[in-house]
């Protein structure tokens, strides 16, 4: 109720400012809002009304000075700055380069959203790779799904390239990186950002009447491995499969381009 009144008064402010830039309605509004500064209310002369107005917002309550920002450019820019600060408290803003650098440090690269026309989900090929994401290493082949710690800056249905490949293998061949293979890549799709099952953290000190219980749910990302590149894939013996392999080639080019 209190902030409804505040907003209402702010609205009055704004309308008064927009419609007629005269001092009488302004002073009325100020009396309504009851700013704790008598100097300002007395000094709203016609030529210099703009300057004390910009002071006013420092004394006004938070809610009203947020809704005031439609009135003046100065104020609106101030308000924006504040909101940015508030946002950065929760999660700081990253530029695209920073995002890419952080993702590269973890070991992935975001390609973009999966389109309906993309045929990335293929049948199993007898090839595996050891890939590192963050501080975890996974032995994957295509069609596998892995749960990693939550990856930042990627949405569900994004395509990723995991580029920290430590080892590639097929039934006949093994390629070992020192420590990574720079020209190998594992392609994956983000399937889910989910929370793990709840873990109860229970602390107790005996004979001290001290017990603390805290719940925790870890954020995880589920990835589906779609393709492993950098090793030649063996021909599959069944007759339907070579056709698939032939189809796969242009796709790969499309993915790299």
């Amino acid at each position: 109720m209190a902030h409804r009144r505040c907003l209402h008064s702010a609205l009055l402010h704004a309308t008064a400012l927009i419609s007629l830039k005269k001092s009488p309605p302004l002073s009325i509004v100020k009396a309504l809002t009851s700013k704790p500064n008598p100097v300002i209310t007395t000094s709203n002369l016609e030529p210099s009304w703009f300057i004390p107005w910009s002071y006013v917002r420092h004394f006004s309550s938070r809610k009203s000075d947020d809704s005031e920002n439609e009135a003046e450019m100065e104020e609106s820019s101030d308000g924006e700055g504040e909101s940015d600060e508030m946002a950065s408290d929760m999660a700081r803003d990253y530029s695209p380069e920073e995002k890419e650098a952080e993702a590269a440090a973890i070991g992935y690269k975001v390609v973009g959203p999966l389109q309906r026309s993309d045929r990335v989900f293929k049948d199993y090929e007898p090839v595996f790779a050891v890939v590192q994401i963050g501080s975890h290493q996974f032995k994957v082949s295509n069609g596998d799904s892995i749960f990693t710690e939550r990856l930042k800056f990627c949405e569900v249905n994004d395509k990723l390239i995991l580029n920290k490949v430590l080892l590639l293998g097929s039934p006949t061949q093994t390629i070992i990186g020192r420590p990574i293979l720079p020209d190998a890549a594992v392609h994956a799709v983000v399937e889910e950002h989910a929370l793990d099952a709840k873990v109860i953290i229970f602390k107790k000190k005996r004979r001290k009447n001290y017990r603390r219980t805290k719940g925790h749910r870890q954020e995880l990302t589920k990835l589906r491995i779609t393709d492993i590149q950098g090793i030649e894939k063996p021909e599959i013996k069944t007759d339907g499969k070579p056709l698939k392999a032939a189809v796969k080639k242009p796709e790969k080019i499309a993915a790299t381009a």
């Binding site: 902030h3 308000g79 995880l220």
Partner: protein, 144 residues
């Protein structure tokens, strides 16, 4: 293709239930539509505004971003607001959003969307595969 996502969104329907009277629905409610329109004329950075309506502002964009999803609002008087998600595997998940700000509600709605709707169980392994070995499982008999 299968149960898993593979490019298919699993959340089919989202019900946004709220009360038009109770204080715990404040964040979710259509709140001062008139004021909202007034502010829309000005510069639209009002995230910190108390009582900023989830349904007025976040929900349309959320709907727009997720065309695969059926979003329904539902009025239940005298109850706390909640979100209810229906998944393709016939599971449903309910999240209570009482006394939450619009941003928090949006976060929970996004979480529902990002989930597959499976039952939350402790993971036995973080690596699920159908083909555990390519070069053959090692045994004590293997000679190199």
């Amino acid at each position: 293709m299968q149960m898993a996502l593979r490019g298919v969104w699993q959340l089919k329907k989202l019900i946004v239930s709220y009360c038009d009277w109770g204080g715990s629905s404040r964040g979710i409610r259509l709140f001062w539509a008139l004021l909202e329109r007034e502010l829309a004329l000005g510069i639209l950075v009002n995230n910190m505004l108390q009582g900023w309506a989830f349904m007025e502002s976040e929900l349309p964009t959320f709907k727009e971003k997720n065309p695969q999803l059926e979003v329904v609002t539902e009025l239940i008087r005298g109850q706390h607001p909640h979100l209810k998600g229906f998944y393709k595997n016939k599971n449903e998940r309910v999240v209570c959003v009482k006394n939450m700000t619009p941003e928090d509600i949006l976060l929970y709605a996004t979480r529902l969307r990002n989930a597959l709707g499976r039952k939350v169980v402790k993971l036995k392994t973080r690596h699920v595969t159908k083909h555990p070995s390519v070069q053959g499982t090692w045994t004590t008999d293997v000679k190199f």
